[in-house]
Amino acid sequence: MGTDDRGASSSSPDESLAESFTALCFGPGLRPEGQRIAVRLDEEGLRLWPAEAREQRVSYQMLQVSAGGFDHEQMILAWSLDGGQWSLTLSDKPAKDFLLAHAPPALEPQLAHWKKKIRGGRHRMRLGWTVLALFLLAPFLLLAVFLWQTDRIVDWAANRISVQDEQKLGELIFEQTKPSLKLITEDEAPRVIEQIGGKLTAGTAYTFKWHVADDPAINAFAIPGGHVVVFTGLIKAADSPEEIAGVLAHEAEHVLQRHSLKAMIHNLGWRAAIAVATGDWTGGLAGEFAAQMGILKFGRDKESEADLKGLELLRKAQIDPDGMVSFFDKLAKRGGAPIALLSTHPASADRMEALRAAIAKNGSWQSQPLPYDWARIKTTLPAR
């Protein structure tokens, strides 16, 4: 068929074809699927089928250059002749390069325009795909940023919640947990706890509310906004009011440092980020697991922070810090069943060490013993 050779045939031994290229030609009388023909550039125009009987000349003035084809990057030279539409399609790079390199002056502006259009199209394409890729990857980027900057994001979010709102939220949570707690209101223990707590937190931005719940577990917990609940088990395990004061100072710091609030934001943020990334809004197992892992990681350094800051509260209230250290120590040494307070507040050796170091560094302060008969108070608690 002789139509297999493509592109510029500059290597052709035929001297007359030295400045020719091949292109697919469409037009009346030609094969409908196009015919690959040789084209030569001349002074005034194109010469189709150069040096053949059917040679045809097309003036550059008649030509219109446009970009097209399936990939929108082919060069199409179109013209009309005697009412028929003709076109040459240059699809391969050698042919296009040849025409660009040997551009006749009459065609130069059009070719420059074609080049610009192709380049613009490529830019747009690249931009479009980048935007699309970013859009598709956005959830994962979000997740990555959240992983990387968790603490900052959580702090930023927590700073946007006012103390009033936090207290409202805490109120809500407390109302919800209340039915599962057997609160003691009418006895000496709640009053003493409230006095010690009040003494510790005097002058802070929060209005603390201290509660005692009848529960044998050795535990205490704080709710955002200032509700602190102490279990009777904890009171019974303590040997002096100073030991209780240490725990209260620690819990009060959880509130003052907004640890519980931040933990909640953290948890919510994790869930949201994972839900967006996986597209699973029902909170699948993966989300559950990841959220839990997030909380655990949150715990340790916050506990140490609460310890050290709690120490400050004790100092301000002129309460002996030894109670705090000895109580955690005592609980850690106590064998038997796992102690709830330690499982949520892991009493690692490091933590105790840090606490002792802080006391040694700051020096002890003048402390006044708390005026309560602890042994008697313990007898007022409901017997177990």
């Binding site: 139509t3 469409f26 409908p32 699927e33 196009g34 690959r36 399936f70 990939d71 539409q85 747009r124």
Partner: protein
Amino acid sequence: MAQMHEIDYQIFGSEMQYVEIELDPQEAAVAEAGGMMYMDDGIAMETVFGDGSQQKSGFLGSLMGMGKRLLTGESLFMTIFLNQGSSKRKVAFAAPYPGKIVPLHLSELGGQIICQKDSFLCAAKGVSVGIAFQKKLGVGLFGGEGFIMQKLEGDGYAFVHAGGTLMERTLAPGETIRVDTGCLVALQPSVSYDIEYVGKIKSALFGGEGLFFATLRGPGKVWLQSLPLSRLANRIYAAMPATGGSREEGSLLGGLGNILDGDR
């Protein structure tokens, strides 16, 4: 045409066609795995990774090819049917759903054809089956089936399959037609392919057409199918008893008719 295998073929059937290919000794055809209908004794079947057109491409090359084939929704492997006998043998490939088989002689068509993914049926060995991306993002997002297409390259025969009735049309330079994106089967690479927004929400909602049309601008040949498989599948799915469709064919007797027919 040295490396291409020149094959003779005959297409049988009217609406559910199959193509019978006659292989000279040592000639081979490649087909999408699972398309074979029958073959003569003496034809060896070999499953290859990719389309069997390239000799060696290394590990990375084959990995790329794998990704491309996954993108076009094809099976990872193709089957080569090689005539090992000393006389002519026949192998036949059947169309997977009602429609027409289109024989495309690639060298007469400029060496390259872009076709709808999944429409490739079989070809002479040496025809490479590649992937053709639409580079325009609009086409990618709204072009439906037209975004990722197959590129058949070579100079032998390739057979693609069209659903329903086939329409072959030659577009003069600058001539434009608009088609439903699903109805396009194949086009010459000289044809510009674009997506046009119809812009009438009413026609999109109530007219049953999509919001976007494919615009094909000549010069070149295009092949259209009257019934894309997805349309047929939609109707069949809607009529399936399992999805709440009704089985009877409009009998006034309704359910009673089914009992009388003995369908139940």
